[in-house]
Structures are given as C-alpha cells and as structure tokens.
C-alpha cells in the first residue's frame, strides 16, 4: 500500500514537472512556426512529417503567417539580366534580399506578375524563342513549377497588350492564372487551373480595351478596363471595373463608386477581406486618401452589394502621394516628389501617417504582398532535376 502511494506520488510529480501536451495544443503551436523550422522539424517523427503536408494544417499555418508576418515584396522594374533584384520587407522592418530560383538563369528575364498566399506567378522572357513560359514559385519551400504552354500569342505582346491575373479560389481550393490577350481585335481569355494543370479558353465579349488585373478577393478577380459604351458602331470608352469569378468563370461589369471628380489617383486593394476602392484628392499641395468598400447588401437598384465609404484620411503634406496596397491593417503609400521618393504607412485607426525609411527600395520597384506559406505548387523540390528539365526545354527550342 505504501509502495503504491509513493509510486502514485512519483507519477504525479513527473506529470507536474514534465507535462505531456495534447496533440491539438502541439498543432496550435506548430501552425505558428515560420516555414524554415517547419521544414527542419519534418525529421522529428512520422506524425509531424505527415501533418506538415495536411491541407488543413497548411491553411491554418497560412492564416497565422498572414497575421504574424505579412510582407511586402519589391521587384525592380524591367532590368535585363538582373535576376535577383527582389527584396522583402517583413513586419520586423527588416529588408531581405530574395533570390530567384536557379532555373531563372535559363531565361533572359523573370518578372513577377502575380502573388497569392505565398506563391508567385512569374513570367519569363527568352527574347528569341517563343513562347514565354510562366512559372509558379513558392520561395519559402523552394518549389517551382513550369506552367504548361498556353498556346497564346504572348510572344507578340510580351509585356504590353496582354495582362495576367493570378489568384486563389477558396470554393475550389485552386489557384488560377487568367491571361487576357487580343486576337483579331477581340479580347480573349485563357484560364489555367493548378489543380487540373491545364488551360482552357473562356469566351466572353467584354467590348473593352486596356484590361489590366488588380486584385483577387475571396475567389473573385478584379480588373480595370475601358469599356465601349456606345451601342452603335461608334466608340466611346469609359473606365469600368470587371469582376471575374474564379469558380464560375463568369465576367461581370461593376460600376465604380461615385467619387470626387478631382481624383488624382485610384487603386484597388483588399481591406478587411473586402474589395476596397481607394482614391486620392488634392487640396493646396496636400493629399487625402479616401477608401470605399464593396459590401454585401441590397442596394437601391436591387443589386446584391453596394459601395460604402469607410474613411477619408487627414491631408498629407504632399501632392504626390500614392496608396499602393494594404499591409497588415495599414495602407502602404509611396511619395514620388521631384527631389526624393519616400514610403509612408497610413493607419486608418489612429489616422496617423508614419514614415518608413527603406532607402534600398526606390521608386523603380514594383510592389506585391507576400506571405511565407507551405502551399505546394506541385512542382519538384529537386532543383537539379528541374534544372535539367529546364535545360532540356531550352535545347529543344534552339
């Protein structure tokens, strides 16, 4: 009896000093880890190795990564044979240099054209040979995938008349690339699905020109474009917003909110999980930012959503302030003054502007939102193998 009680005491002591955490608590810790230690900890045990590949774990990890460390990626504008002019800015305000995957050396140029959940869509360019393959790339887990050829006229319009959108479709749990291009004066669309790893043509006549991709919100892509509003054979173009539902693959024209006629600049962003229309007005060398959000709800003419004004910022003492994107809960803005360029953050809650001193990333950089993720592009991790394939690809074309 005495022995039993002493062993019970001992057990209790062990439990008290050296607790066994339940699996669900361990999982809640693991989803808060950055990608690098997660890759290292695959070697802990079979259960962890399999857990890190589980889609629900990957989704929960992405949610926390977005909350914990949303990043801004800077890409220098077209600069031939410089493949590594990429920088990321994390919430710790550290600017890190980013490396393109080694595969890129087989191409003259790589240009990020879209970003979603830690994946980049990269358009490559080999001047003499067609076509211009697209890559899907997750830098955090070092995965690259060559997108099958779309059989498009991208070679004729490498960086101009066609535009590429890249976004995530939650209902299908799929990533899609949408390419708009012009054929015989008609705009055409091709849609690539990562899940099916194939392209298809979506026929729809928008009767518009200069269509360019802006953002994807909850599986719906938003594009700007100029639509011909004349019913007869004449031409009269007006700026409109197009939505493209990635699940149903249907285009819709969306009216813009009624805004100030003296708008200097306008942009689309994702604000609190909704599409936001942001524009600027100027008054005596000061700029104010206005933000409207597209909200669900029945509007006056029976539509299922409407534009709601969220806020107008205090005037900022520059006439050249450009809101670029949301970073966490703040608006990332650039100032292009004649003597200097600068980056400021506007916080809608405190209504304050804050200066960011990031001298490395000047005016010539293009900006993308980026977050570290475990999302797989289904590509190969073995870069040597991939490089061989890449080299083979080049050889075949020559």
């Amino acid at each position: 009896m005495r022995r039993l009680s002493s062993s019970m005491m001992k057990n209790k002591k062990v439990e008290a000093d050296d607790p066994f955490l339940p699996q669900e608590i361990i999982r809640d810790i693991l989803i808060r880890l950055p990608v690098k230690p997660i890759i290292r900890f695959q070697c802990v045990c079979r259960h962890w190795r399999d857990l890190f590949k589980d889609p629900s774990f990957i989704a929960d990890h992405l949610y926390h990564s977005n909350r914990q460390n949303p990043c801004i990626l800077f890409q220098r504008g077209r600069s031939d044979d410089n493949h590594s002019d990429l920088y990321s800015l994390g919430s710790d305000m550290q600017v890190l240099r980013f490396q393109y995957p080694p595969l890129m050396k087989h191409f003259n140029h790589g240009k990020i054209v879209g970003s979603s959940n830690g994946l980049f869509c990269v358009q490559t360019d080999r001047l003499r040979y067609s076509p211009h393959p697209l890559l899907l790339w997750n830098p955090a887990i070092k995965e690259v995938k060559l997108v099958p050829e779309a059989d498009l006229c991208l070679v004729l319009y490498p960086f101009g008349c066609c535009d590429i959108g890249f976004g995530f479709c939650p209902p299908l749990n799929d990533y899609k690339i949408v390419v708009t291009y012009v054929k015989n004066y008609f705009e055409m669309f091709k849609v690539y699905s990562l899940r099916s790893n194939s392209w298809k043509e979506v026929k729809y006549r928008l009767d518009a020109r200069n269509i360019c991709y802006r953002v994807t919100v909850n599986g719906v892509m938003f594009w700007w474009g100029e639509k011909n509003i004349r019913k007869d054979h004449g031409e009269d173009f007006e700026m409109v917003l197009f939505s493209f539902d990635l699940a149903t693959e249907v285009w819709t024209v969306i009216p813009m909110p009624e805004h100030h006629s003296s708008t200097l600049y306008q942009n689309l962003m994702v604000y609190e999980g909704k599409l936001a229309f942001v524009f600027c007005t100027e008054d005596f060398e000061h700029t104010s930012i206005h933000l409207w959000v597209r909200e669900e709800g029945v509007g006056a003419s029976g539509e299922t959503w409407n534009w709601t004004k969220k806020f107008t910022s205090n005037p900022y003492p520059s006439s050249r302030l450009f809101p670029i994107t949301m970073w966490g809960n703040e608006i990332f803005c650039r100032i292009f003054d004649s003597e200097s360029t600068n980056t400021v953050l506007f916080n809608p809650t405190t209504e304050k502007f804050k200066n960011l001193n990031i001298s490395k990333c000047d005016v010539w950089y293009q900006i993308f939102n980026y977050v570290e993720s475990l999302v797989s592009v289904g590509g190969t991790k073995s870069l040597t193998k991939f490089l061989k394939r890449g080299a083979h690809l080049v050889e075949c074309r020559q």
Binding site: D28, L33, R40, Q42, C45
Partner: protein
C-alpha cells in the same frame, strides 16, 4: 446576480486558496460560469477548485488582472502598446517548467488571448531548438525507418535527425 461581490476565492489543484477579482475572472468562460454559480448561491461555504496547480494559477491570475481593464472597457493605442510590452516580459519563462502548464491552463479555462500568446511564445522558443531537443520536450520518439530517413535526406539535403 449580486453586484456587491468584487472578488471570489478559488482553490488550486494543490489546495491553495487564491483570490481573483470578478472583472479578471470574466476573461475565462468557465471561471465566469463558476462566478455566476457562486454568486447565485446564498451560502458560499464551498470554495470551487480549479484543476490548475498553484504555480501556474498565480501566473494565470496575474495575466487576467492585467488584461481585465482593457478587455472590459477597451483602451487607447498607447495602452495596447504598453500591454504588448508587458506580455513579452510576462512570457519570459521556461518551456517545460511553466509555459506548457500555462498553455494547458489557458486551454482548459478557454482564455483565447493567453492561449494565443503562449502558443506563439512556445513557437518562438522552438525556432532555435534542434530536432532532438524538440523530441525531448514533446516526449516524441524518432519512429522513422532508415529508408524513410534516407528519403527525407534526399528531399532535403542537409536535414538533421539529431
């Protein structure tokens, strides 16, 4: 519910008595229910027991008392900054000695803020650990076959099982 009660007494799993203010107890759903039960009953002879050891309960109550004013009224941004700094200081603790107990207590007491903070602290501490240190703190055995180890090594050159 009587509004005159400002603090309640609870017992830890070790049998020690602790006082917790009503506003602080509201941060935990089970404590809040307990509070309502205690206040409804006329004879409060029976002191409720919380299945958390004394060492951990001291920390949990300290967290609740600090966070209660903000949770109950909302606070300015300077307060939020101050509270963030306080959280960082508060979380400077040993993983096995106390942090894991706090995690279990926060989970058991349905305290979202503390649970999130403790999970993030544990994750931050894990970043600097080796694979064998991780196995030790989580009581995990290396169950890979030599073939599986070889496969992982091929996929991730330089990966370590120690």
């Amino acid at each position: 519910m009587s509004s005159s009660v400002e603090a309640i007494t609870v017992l830890s799993s070790d049998g020690d008595e602790f006082k917790i203010t009503v506003s602080a107890a509201k941060l935990s759903k089970p404590l809040n229910w307990m509070l309502e039960d205690v206040c409804f009953s006329d004879d409060c002879d029976e002191v409720p027991t919380i299945e958390v050891n004394s060492k951990t309960l001291v920390k949990v109550i300290e967290y609740c008392e600090k966070h209660a004013p903000r949770a109950n009224s909302g606070a300015s941004d300077s307060d939020a900054e101050e509270l963030k700094k306080w959280d960082i200081e508060f979380m400077k603790m040993d993983v096995k000695d106390i942090l894991f107990h706090i995690l279990m207590a926060a989970n058991y007491l349905h305290m979202e803020g503390l649970y999130d903070l403790a999970c993030q602290t544990a994750a931050d501490l894990m970043k600097g650990m080796t694979v064998s240190q991780i196995r030790k703190i989580f009581h995990i055995k290396n169950d890979f076959s030599s073939e599986e180890q070889e496969q992982l090594r091929r996929q991730h050159p330089g990966c370590s099982f120690d």
